[in-house]
């Protein structure tokens, strides 16, 4: 028998972990002279206080859904794709090339073309790490970290050279043609006569993210490929026995993962108010994806919830830093704590809970 009911694993453990992260975060707030309760209120207001703020929260959450899914798909194959950051950048490059150099008459076409290009570029960026992992056993974590740095170099090369408009100072491409600009949720709301989401950049890519969630769910639990990915992830030796090719699954799982990460670029290049690709387009979303996947237990539903939480944290943190003297890096600290407690210190939380359940089971017998 399992020592713990499923709900405890899926809900109780993450909630306790989050609470612990919150407690340490509170201590950090106190240490920098901020009342944690006030900070929490400010952050909560900043995250959902107005429909604009909510829009920003959703915008960030969209990013994190993509990267969370990316990490999760690889996790199911027991592979740790820490290269989301780089894949997002390359995805951005793909989207930018399509939007800038291919005449696209309408945003719907731009969405399809941009998303395809972003996914392909993101996937391509993980080909070599995936190949090296599959074929030569080079550790995917180290290779993808290296590819993150190289992605940043490559992107800067393009954005400060070939793709930079003459006379511009910013390391960025030109602003994309208006036809490629994705409708924001505000535009959508306006069709219904609402002013929801105001000027926030949340846009229809959020639906793309949700479609991706459904896609990943179907892939992982309802297709042969997903079955093979999970088998390989749970037991490499058993997969070998079943005739599941380690090389193929490693490659395919990572390519899908890279493609999903690349897709995020649609949101943060074509979706933002001045659609363009800037040099630090990923903004740490690749790493946040790790926390999102961990907290979401690698399930799309969990990932959406975790992504919303991190979106709120990100947006709330930005507002907090705008209202107080606390730098926005406080978000990074909280994020680190969440990763630490939900990821690395999982056992610390889980073991006592498991013991409690075991004891009550024994007592019940």
């Amino acid at each position: 028998m399992d020592a713990m009911p499923k709900w405890a694993d899926v809900v109780l453990v993450p909630v306790v972990s989050l609470l612990l992260a919150a407690i340490i975060s509170a201590i950090v707030f106190v240490a920098v002279g901020q009342n944690p309760w006030d900070a929490l209120k400010l952050m909560a207001y900043g995250a959902v206080g107005t429909s604009d703020f909510l829009g920003y929260t959703l915008f960030y959450a969209t990013n994190f859904i993509f990267t969370g899914l990316a990490v999760a798909v690889a996790f199911h194959a027991s592979l740790f794709n820490i290269g989301g950051e780089g894949q997002v950048l390359l995805g951005g490059l793909g989207a930018a090339i399509v939007c800038l150099y291919v005449p696209l008459p309408h945003w719907s076409l731009a969405l399809i073309a941009g998303a395809t290009a972003a996914a392909i570029f993101g996937a391509l960026w993980v080909v070599i790490p995936a190949y090296l992992q599959a074929r030569r056993g080079s550790h995917i974590v180290i290779t993808t970290i290296m590819f993150n740095f190289m992605a940043s170099g490559l992107l800067i090369f393009f954005l400060s050279g070939p793709m930079k408009p003459i006379g511009e100072m910013q390391v960025a491409t030109a602003v994309f043609p208006a036809a490629t600009h994705l409708p924001s949720l505000h535009d959508v709301a306006q069709m219904f006569g609402s002013e929801m989401f105001g000027r926030s950049p949340v846009n229809i890519s959020i639906f793309l993210a949700l479609i991706a969630c459904v896609g990943v769910w179907a892939l992982i639990w309802h297709t042969r490929l997903g079955y093979e990915i999970r088998s390989f992830g749970k037991s490499e030796s058993a997969a070998k026995y079943a005739g599941i090719s380690a090389v193929n699954i490693t490659m395919v799982a990572l390519l899908i993962s890279g493609g999903l990460a690349g897709l995020m670029a649609v949101n943060n290049t074509m979706g933002i108010n001045s659609p363009q690709l800037v040099d630090n387009a990923a903004g740490g979303a690749g790493f946040i994806g790790i926390a999102v996947a961990l907290m979401g237990r690698n399930h799309p539903v969990g990932i959406v919830i975790a992504a919303l939480l991190f979106g709120a944290l990100y947006q709330g943190g930005a507002e907090l830093s705008a209202a107080t003297s606390i730098p926005v890096q406080i978000v990074v600290v909280i994020q680190a704590l969440v990763i630490m407690f939900t990821g690395a210190l999982d056992e610390m939380v889980r073991a006592p809970i498991e013991k409690l359940f075991l004891r009550s089971q024994r007592a019940g017998e």
């Binding site: 090369f157 400060s160 390391v171 960025a172 001045s274 800037v278 705008a322």
Partner: protein
């Protein structure tokens, strides 16, 4: 609601206390606040993604005018400004064409020309150098002006110019600044001009350590290493901010150039570098400044055609 919450300033990524550009902007705001006993709102962004959000935040809070220091604000401001027609915006170092935006740019090439002359005069090796921050047209404008000045003072001089990088992190990489300086020293340079934001701190430090002269930028940085900083190329961002704050919501939109003539750029002379600047050096530089103001001397502006006649990048 129309009620004004006072002026606001938003700094660029380098941060308020970069001892340079942003700090200079802060000083201007601070001076205005002290003189008027008023307060102003301020914000230091830490990521590009925050730009538009920050502008909107202040605009919605009713701050007026909203000053932003740095060219990187242009895109965000261009998008946001139209939504707040009643708010006045001031952008420094870049031009944004909108009815409620005042764009302030400086003739950095002119100021750089002056310190270039001083550098060549002070050099014993006839090699002077330049460390730029991020490799962008604006910084090349500094470099080009500096090289022209150096060659004007000493046609035999050699000018070495290096950029720290091509990303915003180049504004904040004192380690690399220091290494670049050492490399330049090895090529014979004995005066180094840093136009590199926070990176410049490393340049000035290394120059001081190695016993060569350095030239600060934006704010007066002479005090950082007394007797070892030849001068500072003053870019009176503080004045621009001060004036904008003083004008309040009456800030005049449009294009505003600050050059030598109107005190926008210049070189610093104070007790910390008095011994380094000889009378004839000062005379020569002041003469050049006068002829630039008079229009007798034109310093080539890199940004006018993205070329520099005397320097290759």
């Amino acid at each position: 609601d129309g009620h004004s919450a006072g002026p606001a300033i938003i700094y660029d990524l380098g941060g308020k206390f970069d001892k340079s550009f942003n700090e200079s902007a802060f000083n201007g705001a601070q001076r205005w606040a002290e003189e008027n006993g008023s307060e102003f709102a301020e914000f230091e962004i830490t990521a590009d993604a925050q730009r538009e959000q920050a502008i909107r935040r202040f605009a919605e809070d009713g701050n007026n005018p909203i000053v932003m220091a740095g060219f990187s604000w242009a895109t965000a401001l261009g998008t946001a400004a139209v939504d707040y027609p009643d708010t006045k915006f001031v952008i420094i170092d870049m031009v944004v064409d909108a009815p409620n935006v005042r764009s302030v740019v400086f003739n950095e090439h002119e100021g750089s020309f002056l310190v270039g002359m001083m550098a060549a005069e002070a050099s014993e090796t006839d090699v002077v150098s330049f460390v730029g921050g991020m490799d962008i047209p604006l910084i090349r404008r500094f470099a080009c002006g500096y090289a022209q000045g150096a060659l004007a003072a000493n046609p035999d001089a050699t000018v070495i110019a290096n950029m720290t990088g091509t990303t915003p992190s180049a504004w904040n990489d004192p380690v690399k600044g220091s290494e670049l300086t050492l490399s330049q020293i090895s090529q014979g340079s004995d005066v180094v001009f840093a136009a590199a934001g926070g990176t410049g701190i490393g340049v000035l430090q290394t120059a001081a350590d190695e016993g060569i002269l350095s030239i600060g930028v934006d704010a007066n940085q002479n005090y950082l290493h007394p007797g070892q900083v030849l001068t500072s190329m003053m870019k009176r961002v503080d004045n621009a901010v001060y004036e904008s704050f003083a004008a309040g919501d009456m800030v005049e939109p449009g294009f505003n150039v600050m050059g030598i003539g109107n005190g926008g750029v210049g070189y610093a002379l104070d007790e910390f570098n008095a011994e380094l600047v000889s009378a004839e050096m000062q005379e020569m530089v002041d003469a050049a400044a006068a002829s630039i103001t008079a229009g007798d001397l034109t310093v080539h502006d890199y940004m006018s055609d993205e070329t520099c006649p005397v320097l290759e990048f």
